[in-house]
Symmetry: C2
Subunit: 376 residues, 2 copies
């Protein structure tokens, strides 16, 4: 197993301090199919299925599904294979509490995503502990907050990831203009190949490529096909590359022989993007920005059917949400990396979306990516 480096120790310290303050004896984190949780990667480097247990005594236990991967990537004080715990999360939790010497009657916090029926089973299996599962003020929520503000290493990785993304955007534009990209599949294949050539783990999520016939969908289904791309009308390409864990998330719109009504969608989308970027700075509420964009579209009788943006990081969707909804009280802070992605969709005209990744600073926004309307 790799030595525990400073980066992981700094992150662990944040959650250990929080545990001490909250009087939590042990925190359990689970990364499994159907319950993906990048907190394990953020805290230990281990990028695949595993459980991670943290004790208030500042010790960590990694329980990976695959020991081979854990030895290559994982950083923790203790390492035990999942097979030793019947490959069962409740068994593992019980044995972890013993190994980490968690005192009886301590509070053990299990993941906020724990389904209600499973929560009951935990309670039953751990009668000697106070098992808790919380959303708003729990460990998951604390980690989400910690992760939303990127540290120096993460900002460095984001600059590198954005550079690769921008190179690929440049290649896409060149090949679209040169007539080499004719189908949705051609565009996706270029991204897949070029990102791996540049040392990326892959794409951060399934690339969405929708030619004029399919671009009216917010998220095209299927995500991409062999249909024409970049032909007359509006085509949308939404992708991100995953570099050392961190994903970018950009959307280009390709416009060819557009009607006036289609040009209007483009103009409104571009203006909405500028409006949003101009409002970004540490201390601003994200709902305020999203509401301003909704109001801007409303003046032209248009409705954007999705949120304005979101944080990105190890996951393609992280905190904060940039959403115009009553329950959104998120406030921008320097160090956050977010997307701004205004879009408009019309069954007859197709769709237009423009998405860039932005680093929030004290004074404003540093736009990291170079997505744009590509005109053929």
């Amino acid at each position: 197993m790799a030595a525990k480096t400073g980066r992981y120790q700094q992150r662990l310290d944040k959650i250990y301090d929080w545990m001490a303050q909250e009087e939590i004896g042990m925190v359990m984190i689970e990364d499994a199919e159907g319950r993906r949780d990048s907190n394990i990667r953020w805290l230990s480097g281990h990028p695949a299925d595993a459980l991670l247990f943290l004790s208030v005594d500042r010790k960590s236990l990694l329980v990976p599904w695959d020991l081979f991967i854990a030895k290559l990537y994982g950083n923790a004080d203790y390492l035990r294979p999942y097979t030793g715990f019947d490959r069962h999360p409740i068994t593992a939790c019980l044995k972890a509490a013993a190994l980490l010497k968690i005192p009886r009657f301590s509070r053990i916090e299990i993941p906020s995503s724990t389904a209600y029926p499973r929560f009951l089973k935990f309670i039953e299996a751990l009668p000697d502990f106070d098992v808790i599962c919380r959303e708003e003020d729990g460990a998951g929520s604390a980690l989400e907050q910690f992760r939303s503000i990127k540290d120096e290493e993460e900002i460095r990785l984001y600059r590198a990831a954005a550079e690769i993304t921008n190179e690929i955007i440049g290649l896409l534009e060149k090949q679209l203009k040169g007539g080499k990209i004719k189908t949705e599949y051609d565009a996706v294949q270029l991204i897949e190949g070029e990102c791996r050539k540049r040392g990326c783990e892959g794409t951060g999520f399934e690339t969405l490529a929708a030619g004029p016939e399919r671009s009216a969908a917010i998220h095209s289904f299927p995500s991409y096909t062999a249909s024409p791309f970049g032909t007359a009308g509006l085509s949308i390409l939404d992708f991100g590359i995953k570099y050392k864990g961190y994903t970018t998330d950009v959307t280009l719109t390709v416009a060819a022989d557009c009607t006036k009504a289609q040009e209007r969608l483009i103009t409104l989308t571009e203006k909405a993007g500028k409006l949003a970027l101009g409002m970004i700075r540490g201390g601003t509420g994200t709902r305020e920005i999203a509401a301003a964009v909704d109001a801007f579209f409303a003046k032209s009788n248009k409705v954007m059917p999705h949120a304005l943006g979101h944080g990105i990081g190890l996951d393609p969707h992280e905190a904060p949400a940039l959403r115009n909804r009553k329950d959104n009280s998120a406030v921008l802070q320097p160090g956050m990396v977010i997307t701004i992605e205004p879009g408009l969709y019309d069954p007859r005209l197709g769709g237009c979306r423009l998405e860039n990744d932005v680093l929030v600073t004290e004074e404003g926004a540093e736009v990291l990516t170079a997505s744009r309307i590509i005109r053929l």
Copy 2:
């Protein structure tokens, strides 16, 4: 919206009958990021983010995130966009109960995956109903059982999906032997291109391609790279194609210039596969088969670090599990489509896995796919 076809009505009837028997007034199903649920696609055809509400009066309400996609694919009695419900599941549940005229004090079943903190919010927001969330005997579990036995249409689709998979396996073998596939990426690119050419939605999950240096991992990380593939030693290729929603799931091992110890892994894996296939028939417990394979490997001092197989369908992992664990009481039934995937892994030798998809019949097993050890 497409007319409700017989296929969906037959499936809905199963769950409506179950609801009447269980005295459930309304069932809520959610397909969203982090809580994917293919039951909505199975019951309505809608393949993307949505809520689906079913009433004991046998009416269905589809609440899609994207109306455009729903109009192309969705089948339901009522269709309402999610934007009309504040894009919030609890608001949608309240309004759905009103629209479907669910009597006060009825039982409303919400998804078994509902996290405990969110369950509490449902209870609070719906005081006029008896909100329930169950694992073992709930709606999710009933749907899992229904879906585990494929209907005629699904078996027809699986034969077509297997045929495409087998064509791609043939192409892979040819190009490996012809020296055209040199890297993990080459193998993946062939699959991505060929499956889409044949009308597939894409791959059913992220393809895993691991050359000899990386094949000791059960699931390689990153899933594939530009590393050599098919060079001396053992290479693993695990993929599935998604045809009209249904995914296959196969694993090939490519063997070149193997040592005796590597040959031994291959021989044991092949024998384990044959042993398992010989035991498959309706009525057999899946734990019995998985235990027989574990025992077979144990005779040679080998341990398989994962389950023997699993059901497949709209999801790459469905019921039943073929797992040697005390809590597994699943029994094979005719019409199930499952994988059989014995594998052995060694940090020094690499890994070997052989996975095929099998239709369970009264008398035995019909092997649908043609994965094999490819020797270079």
